[in-house]
């Protein structure tokens, strides 16, 4: 028995391979720079490292002035959406080994929101649109003071859009949003969808009215950038299409 154990030595004792990469980061310091500038950092990283680990390595060991947002580091707080190799992703969910490491990896702030510093943008316009769709349950008191019942089928109707972490990867991947900052954007519509199709909610009409606007769902040009960018795999464009159809029908 003991020999069998000795034969099957755990693989964990092996060394995690490392490799060299270049991170090309778009820096901007509002107190010094007139224009953003690109800066290259050469580093040796583990095959298990994510882009967020590389950013930490730079901030902690090379240049402490590098500025970015992150909190959970596990894909749930929605703080670290950024443009990595020209696509919106969460730095904490992007393994470096999955990118093309033969070329420099570009890291930029998300597009369409005011750049504040390095990888940080002003998220207020994004959250303003979110607030405008009334992202909370709108319902009167229940008859008899009991709980609001919902069948599994009714719950499944809006399950996809409950997963949003408000990272803004979708909204800032949208070509319409880049040129028209007034557009509500995919994230606000996703969060409206979450309540419009909730059988317990009574505010669908109000939300459909809000989104039946020049800057509402009709701005959507179905480029699917939002669906491709969403780190939660939400079918964003489909949710927008469902809201468009609900507006045409006049109800959810």
């Amino acid at each position: 028995m003991s020999t069998a154990v000795a034969d099957k030595k755990p693989a964990a004792a092996e060394v995690i391979p490392t490799f060299n990469v270049t991170l090309r980061i778009r820096r901007f310091d509002p107190e010094v720079d007139e224009e953003p500038r690109w800066e290259d950092f050469d580093l040796e990283v583990f095959a298990t490292d994510r882009v967020l680990d590389a950013l930490h390595k730079i901030k902690w060991e090379v240049d402490g002035s590098l500025t970015f947002r992150r909190s959970c580091a596990h894909g749930i707080c929605g703080s670290d959406a950024m443009r990595i190799n020209s696509r919106n992703r969460l730095a904490c969910k992007t393994l470096i080994k999955d990118l093309d490491i033969t070329k420099p990896i570009t890291v930029e702030a998300i597009k369409g929101l005011p750049l504040e510093k390095d990888l940080i943008v002003d998220m207020e316009p994004f959250f303003d649109s979110f607030k405008e769709v009334n992202p909370f349950l709108m319902a009167g008191p229940v008859k008899g003071g009991k709980e609001r019942k919902q069948s599994p089928v009714e719950r499944a109707r809006f399950d996809d859009t409950t997963k949003c972490i408000l990272c803004a990867a979708c909204t800032s991947s949208c070509p319409v949003f880049w040129t028209d900052g007034q557009y509500f954007g995919p994230a606000a519509i996703v969060n409206a969808h979450r309540f419009i199709f909730d059988s317990r909610d009574e505010g669908a009409g109000v939300r459909l009215d809000i989104l039946n606007d020049k800057e509402g769902v009709w701005r959507c040009r179905t480029t699917f950038n939002c669906t491709d960018a969403c780190p939660r795999g939400i079918q964003v464009t489909q949710a927008i299409a469902e809201v468009k159809q609900a507006i045409i029908k006049g109800h959810a």
């Binding site: 004792a13 690109w38 290259d40 990283v45 090379v62 240049d63 070509p175 179905t222 950038n225 469902e242």
Partner: protein, 145 residues
């Protein structure tokens, strides 16, 4: 032996060193997929068709002003350059029409939103078939005399 491996495991890779500043102030071009590029083409072809129609309505209206001038204009359309231009026009309209149907299916049919990528390649396929039928005939017409 295991001790040695374990110490290798915790050993950090060398600290990063070099910092360089490549010149390229603007951000990179967003790398969208089929959906984004089909939209770019849809808009370019839509605007192009619009300008063609504008000119075409004006030249047709000319017949009411002066039939001779109208004939002169129509004569210039028979040159090879215009013949090739017609190929570009047919290509633009065909793409815009097929992709327009794809967008309608995406907006009104749940299947469409799920399979938009496949539908894009169907659009390209139909478009190529249509052009394969049209271009040889048009070239014979233009250069065959």
């Amino acid at each position: 032996m295991p001790e040695k491996s374990a110490s290798n495991l915790v050993a950090e890779p060398k600290s990063p060193s070099k910092i360089r500043s490549p010149k390229r102030p603007a951000g990179t071009l967003y790398r969208g997929n089929e959906g984004m590029w089909s939209w770019v083409l849809h808009r370019i072809t839509g605007v192009a068709i619009y300008f063609f129609l504008l000119v075409h309505i004006l030249d047709t209206a000319l017949v009411r002003v002066s039939p001779e001038a109208y004939n002169q204009v129509i004569e210039t359309y028979k040159t090879p350059v215009m013949g090739l231009g017609e190929i570009a026009l047919v290509a633009a309209i065909a793409f815009h029409a097929f992709n327009g149907l794809r967008i309608i299916l995406i907006d009104f049919w749940a299947f469409g939103a799920k399979h938009q990528r496949a539908m894009f390649w169907v659009v390209i396929g139909l478009w190529l078939i249509l052009l394969a039928g049209f271009i040889p005939r048009q070239l014979m017409h233009v250069f065959g005399g």
